[in-house]
């Protein structure tokens, strides 16, 4: 049951039942709210489909890029690329904090932000790179150093991913940050989103080689001009694309979270409406009964 005094239907000052009119007003406004949450739910459902389609479109690129990277990692003996070396010691860590631009999606954004803060507490300083309006706000509230700050939906995602990648790469190469970490939401399933921190740079060599055993030996690959030279160009692309694909995932996960939040809100409003309607009927019945008693009482007094 819903305690009525917590619903803002407390009677004016006195300790009496809310009047029929109070309840009717309350029901009306709640119905409006329910309509809004229902509409947002439908919009979220439509946007999930669009976000999922965008992710699907990026899949062939992801597959091909991953395969090229595996071939390259197999071929290079040792490579002297900044991304393969440990970052500058003592420098703060660079954390890309990625959230959605909007709220009303349950704990979606705050979960990501909390994961970022948890990561930051592990020690050493942190330079934040905020992507998404909620992340920007969080970084501002922390009064922390922000190396970058941009909203997610106002820009073309691929260009934005390139900007972010360029910025973190420059800072990493200049020794301003010691590693590049991405904190964003992973879409575990349509129903479950989980924030995750991933170290993107320095690149762990074994992270790209997981599936190698099952594949068996591949034909000797020829590289032009050399595997090292190609890898030097591929690693920054890989960073860019990882950030881009995290943006697409954040989008999809956000709308899933919003769909769930708005479904719950609509259901809760429905339950609340039922309770309020019952309370209103009771109050009306009580008023009628009271009036009848008064009439009867008055009639008896006249007769007597």
């Amino acid at each position: 049951m819903w305690p009525l005094d917590k619903l803002g239907v407390t009677s004016s000052g006195e300790n009496r039942m809310p009047s029929v009119r109070d309840l009717r007003d309350r029901i009306k406004s709640l119905k409006n709210t329910q309509q809004i949450t229902k509409a947002m739910k439908q919009v979220a459902a439509a946007k999930i489909r669009r976000a999922e389609a965008a992710r699907k479109q990026a899949q062939p690129y992801a597959d091909a890029l991953g395969e090229m990277l595996r071939d390259l990692m197999d071929a290079v003996g040792s490579i002297d690329h900044p991304f393969m070396r440990p970052g500058k010691e003592g420098a703060p860590r660079g954390v890309i904090l990625m959230t959605a631009d909007k709220g009303l999606a349950g704990a979606f954004n705050s979960n990501v932000i909390r994961e970022g803060e948890r990561y930051a507490r592990e020690g050493g300083g942190v330079v934040w790179y905020a992507v998404g309006n909620k992340a920007r706000g969080a970084v501002r509230r922390m009064h922390a150093e922000a190396g970058f700050s941009e909203s997610l939906s106002a820009n073309e995602k691929l260009a934005l991913a390139q900007d972010v990648a360029a910025k973190v790469t420059d800072d990493f190469n200049a020794g301003k940050i010691s590693e590049i970490v991405l904190v964003s939401s992973r879409a575990v399933s349509v129903m479950v989103q989980r924030p995750e921190a991933r170290v993107l740079v320095p690149v762990a060599k074994d992270a790209t080689e997981k599936k190698e055993e099952q594949k068996g030996p591949r034909a000797e690959v020829e590289f032009a001009p050399s595997p090292e030279a190609v890898l030097t160009r591929l690693l920054p692309k890989y960073l860019e694309f990882t950030i881009y694909s995290a943006m697409l995932e954040t989008d999809a996960a956000f709308y899933s979270a919003q769909l769930i939040a708005m479904t719950n809100a609509t259901d809760n409003a429905g339950k609340l409406l039922d309770d309020l309607t019952l309370a209103m009927n009771k109050a009306r019945q009580a008023a009628i009964t009271k009036e009848m008693l008064e009439i009867v009482g008055g009639a008896e007094a006249q007769a007597g």
Binding site: P60, Y61, D71, L158, A166, E220, P225, K237
Partner: protein, 141 residues
């Protein structure tokens, strides 16, 4: 008798820009143009911004395709050829005004930068891609 073909895919992060069977794919590699025919040995190279050419077979007829592409990679595998780029535009998709604007903006930014730096190279890549688009759009009209 048409030449032997190999499945060819031109892929960007946003979409698969072209998919079909190619007789020959020519990309502008970092070391110069590289052509790939069917049954090429496994091969991987980085591409500079430029014009990617492919002879493809559509409905039994040979056809020549041209795309202005940004930097990327070209990979030949025993069973397919893959080109990965950030952006690929056929002549009829090119917005000349946008290409011109990109070119001017990048040239302007590059003036402030020192050669041999990552920032400079990044602007150069934008300049080259814009030039490739303008060249291709120009050749088409």
């Amino acid at each position: 008798m048409p030449a032997k073909t190999i499945p060819f895919r031109l892929i960007t992060p946003v979409a698969v820009a072209y998919e079909g069977d190619a007789e020959l794919v020519i990309g502008v590699g970092t070391e110069g143009e590289e052509g790939i025919l069917a049954s090429h040995a496994p091969f991987l190279t980085a591409l500079r911004p430029g014009i990617l050419r492919a002879n493809v077979v559509e409905n039994g007829a040979s056809k020549r395709l041209e795309f202005a592409t940004s930097e990327g990679f070209m990979q030949a595998l025993p069973d397919r050829v893959i080109v990965l780029v950030d952006s690929a535009q056929a002549a009829d998709q090119i917005d000349r005004g946008a290409a011109r604007a990109d070119l001017d903006a990048a040239l302007e930014r590059q003036k402030q930068l020192t050669p041999q730096t990552a920032e400079y190279a990044r602007e150069q890549s934008i300049i080259d891609f814009a030039n490739a688009r303008l060249t291709l759009a120009h050749a088409d009209h």
